[in-house]
Every structure is written in structure tokens, then in C-alpha cells.
């Protein structure tokens, strides 16, 4: 038996495969297809202090080996999560993390505070990198100072595991990772989506209502791998790698590049069973290559 479990900033995951925020709903959406309790961790949708309607339609465009989205954090707000969603998921035997988003530091702090007491939510993922909201969001993730500031403020009030999700739309992601590590992040996850755009040549208009949106899927994998490799050399806290993971092989590439765990995002749309297939595939790989422990291959590159 190979050991698949990993520790992410104090949270023990039964395996290194998580599902990415905004791509897996609250997990329940996938329960007809797979046993979601097999997944190492589930990051729920971006959650904000108040309900948000998100951006107008169209919010999505297909691109070469990827997609753009401009959902813009549509969600019913943290109170709805606490009262309506939490009771439905709290007894599922996996780790749910809430992806906390906001437009101001106060919003982030207030949202995080409300999640502090949820016994079965061992951590939050601080989304300082959403490119799809007008104010805040990505802006926090693109400078060291603001990334540090929001991390510090949330750290002060939030006592469980704090994962900070980094934006790839920056000149130097290692600097930002170090800044949030310094302010007390327990782990970092990367990458969020790359800011992109799609054009309808026949209609001579941008496809998305917001013109620009976030690029995800295999198209971004090379950029994500590079950033995971850079960040894992720059920080001591665990790095959670994501961006374009479609298969166990992709997941292993991220782990070799330095990720302690991975998240699967867009791939869930193409194959709703992919997360569990990836868990199995990682196990097969370790067995085939005679490793006893997933940690043996973390960051060997």
C-alpha cells in the first residue's frame, strides 16, 4: 500500500487531489457520478460577504484547449453558505475548504470570520486573484503589498488553515508567494486563471459581456507548472498546484515540479469522474515506479 495522504498547512488530506473552486459547485453536483468522499479536498465556490449576481451573460467562451469564464463570483453569500449549504456537506468524509472572495479587506475579513466556527471546514482558500470582478479580487493578488495586507488582516481573525490563491497575472509570482507566507499563510495554491479575451470575428464584438475573462484548461498548464516550480523553491509552506490538470499524468507533473497537492478544475466539466480517476492514476504511478509515499516525488525536479 502506498501512502497517498498529504498534509496541507495542518490539514490532513487522504490524497493529494482536490477540486478547484468554481468548477465543482459544492461537490454535491457531482455525487451522481462519483463518490465525492474519495476526493482529498473540495474547494467550494467563491463565497463573498453578501450575495452577488455575477456578470451578465455571456460568461463563457471556448478557446483552444481551454475556456474563458467571467462568472464574476455569483454566489448567495456567506450566510447562505453557513445556514443552507454547510449542513448538507458537513458529514461528507472529505475536507471542504471555502474559497473566500471579496472587494475590500473588510469583506474578506468579515467572510473569513463567519467561517471560523464551522467545525467541518478545516480551512479557507483566500481568493486574491479573481480576474472577473471590477474592484478588488485580482488587484489584491497583483502586488506584494496588497497581497500581504489582505493576508495579514484575514490571518488575524481566522484561526484554521489559511490557503492563499495566487494570481498568475504578475511579473514575479515568487515575490507574492513570499509576501503571503510572511504574513502567515499556511499554504499557497496556484494558479488562478490567466486574464484573456475572446472575439467573435463575425459579430465584431468581444464574446464575453465583460470583454476579458479568466483562461483555464490545458492551455495554461505550461504556465502553471512553471509558476508552481518557481514558487515551491521560494517558499517553505506547501504549494497546491493547479491549472489545466486533465489526467493523473498532469497531476504528477505538478507534484514533480513542487506541488504537495493539486486541484482539478475545468477537467471536471469534460469528465465529471476525472478527480477520482486521477487519484487512482497517481496510485498506479507510485506502485509502478516503486514509490511508497507520494512525498517521495514532491518537487524532485
Amino acid at each position: 500500500m502506498v501512502k497517498l495522504s498529504v498534509n496541507i498547512g495542518g490539514v490532513e488530506l487522504k490524497n493529494p487531489v482536490m477540486t478547484a473552486s468554481g468548477t465543482f459547485g459544492y461537490g454535491l453536483e457531482y455525487s451522481d457520478f462519483i463518490d465525492i468522499s474519495r476526493i482529498g479536498g473540495i474547494i467550494v465556490k467563491g463565497t463573498t460577504i453578501r450575495e452577488r449576481q455575477g456578470n451578465p451573460y455571456p460568461r463563457m467562451a471556448e478557446t483552444s484547449s481551454g475556456m474563458l469564464n467571467a462568472v464574476g463570483l455569483q454566489n448567495k453569500g456567506v450566510d447562505h453558505f453557513v445556514s443552507e449549504i454547510y449542513p448538507k456537506i458537513k458529514d461528507i468524509d472529505t475536507n471542504f475548504f471555502v474559497n473566500v472572495s471579496g472587494s475590500t479587506i473588510e469583506d474578506y475579513v468579515a467572510t473569513a470570520e463567519k467561517l471560523n466556527d464551522l467545525e467541518k471546514i478545516p480551512g479557507i482558500e483566500l481568493n486574491i486573484s479573481c480576474p472577473n470582478v471590477k474592484e478588488g479580487g485580482m488587484a489584491f493578488g497583483t502586488s506584494c503589498a496588497s497581497a500581504a495586507e489582505v493576508t495579514k488582516a484575514v490571518r488575524r481573525v481566522y484561526h484554521r488553515s489559511l490557503m492563499v490563491k495566487l494570481s498568475p497575472n504578475v511579473s514575479n509570482i515568487s515575490d507574492i508567494a513570499q509576501a503571503v507566507e510572511y504574513e502567515g499563510a499556511d499554504s499557497v495554491s496556484l494558479i488562478n486563471t490567466l486574464l484573456g479575451m475572446a472575439v467573435d470575428a463575425e459579430k465584431r464584438k468581444a464574446i464575453l459581456s465583460t470583454v476579458t475573462g479568466g483562461l483555464s484548461g490545458p492551455a495554461v498548464k505550461p504556465v502553471a507548472l512553471r509558476m508552481v516550480w518557481q514558487v515551491s523553491q521560494a517558499v517553505k509552506i506547501p504549494v497546491i498546484g493547479l491549472g489545466g490538470i486533465m489526467s493523473a499524468q498532469d497531476a504528477i507533473e505538478f507534484i514533480l515540479a513542487g506541488a504537495t497537492a493539486v486541484q482539478v478544475g475545468t477537467a471536471n466539466f469534460i469528465d465529471p469522474c476525472i478527480s477520482t480517476k486521477i487519484i487512482d492514476g497517481i496510485e498506479d504511478y507510485l506502485v509502478r515506479n516503486k514509490f511508497n509515499n507520494i512525498s517521495d516525488i514532491v518537487g524532485v525536479i
Binding site: T23, F33, R59, M60, N69, P272
Partner: protein, 256 residues
Amino acid sequence: MKKFILDLELKENSILDKKHFLLKLTSPSPLPPMLPGQFVQVLVKNSQEVFLRRPVSIHYVDRERNELWLLIQVVGKGSQKLSELSPGATVNLLLPLGNTFTLDPVPQSRLILIGGGVGIAPLLFLGAYLKNNNHQCNFLLGARSKKDLLQLTEFEKYGTVYTTTEDGSHGEKGYVTQHSILKSKSFDMIYACGPTPMMKALAEYASETGVYCEVSLENTMACGIGACLCCVTDSLDGHLCVCTEGPVFNSKRLKW
């Protein structure tokens, strides 16, 4: 309803006209329960350009033959690729997705099922279902010209068929929304699927005449199961997911 991910086998791919084809899919085991108005998410394989699944309405379910029918219009890379599939090919689907049309209208209701273009797709299954449940259906089907009116003989099995064509080559000339039946007869319920301008016109007609009207919307989708929130439509209750809260909506709830 429980959703499945299934590999079905393509039994038949019939080219209906230059732009439309009909896939008949089957499986060794009985197809799961599916209801009129629901759709499937089709995986398009072997294409460099297509990345996401494509949503397609359930055109018909032939329980005797254990067949699922999809009626598809070629509009881009994905539908083009599907049109090239040969019998024996494996097609991967998520199904059944979305809500359904109202399947239990008041007995004796005067029903009209209105479809424009490939929007007729979900109406065959709906008509068959309603007929099986002792309702009488009127179909009003519109197309550009006679040759673009698809599956007429199939529709005729389940009710009275009225047609319009833009060039007058079959039925009345004009759009479905201009068909005289909408003036000469009155209906209790409209089920509609087609281009947005058509559905919008029907929504207006419905609100003016007070007829209950259900429309099946199209939308760009990523997941098809309510996870990504990419497929919203604007409604009086805010953004609704077409893939889970739809594709069928009461036309009054929508902002047109």
C-alpha cells in the same frame, strides 16, 4: 433524477439535409429514465478545436428499440464533427440533464408545441409523451423552406401539424408567430423552442393573451450540471442556471 455518464453506440447517422442530421444511439443495457425537455452533454472526440462538451436536446427516446435520438444542426466545429460519425462509433454523454417541460397539463388542455428551426428537437419527445398521456397536441413548426422542415412524418404521429415557411413553399408563408392558427384558435398552453426572436415574440403573445407559455432556452454551457454558473439567463429572480433551473422556463419569469 439521477444523472449518468454513458458510452452509447451510434446505430444510425442520417443526414436530413445539408445542415441537419439525426443520431440514433443505443446501448446494451436499458437507457436510464429521461423526460421531455431534458438534454444531454455530448463529448466531441478527435477534434483539435473542440474542448468542451456540447449540449443537445433529447429529440426522442424509443424505449422499444432502446434508442436515444438527437437532432443536430451543423453550426460549428463540434456539430460538424458529430455529423461525421459513423455507425458503430462510441459517443460519450452526460444525461439526463436539466428540468422538463410541464408534463401533466390539465386534462383536455388545448396545447400547442411551437418549434422554429432546430428548436423542434425537444418537441417530438414532448409530443409523444403528451399523446401517450392522453393529451392532444398541435404542432406548429417553422422553417426557412419546405426542405428545411424536418421530421414531419414523425411529428404527424403525435398530433396535428401546422407549418410555416419563410418562402411559402410549405404551409403558411412567414414566421411561426404569424401563423393564422394563433389567431383563429385559442390555446391553454404553449410549449416553445427556437430562435430567441421567435421565443420572445411568443412570450409577448403569451403575456398579451394570458396563455401559459414555456420556452426551452439555449445557452453556452461548460459543465451542464450546475457547477460552473456559466449558463445563466436573466430572470425576475436574478440569474438562473439554464442547465439546472432550465432549460425550460415559464416565459413570464424571463427578462427578454
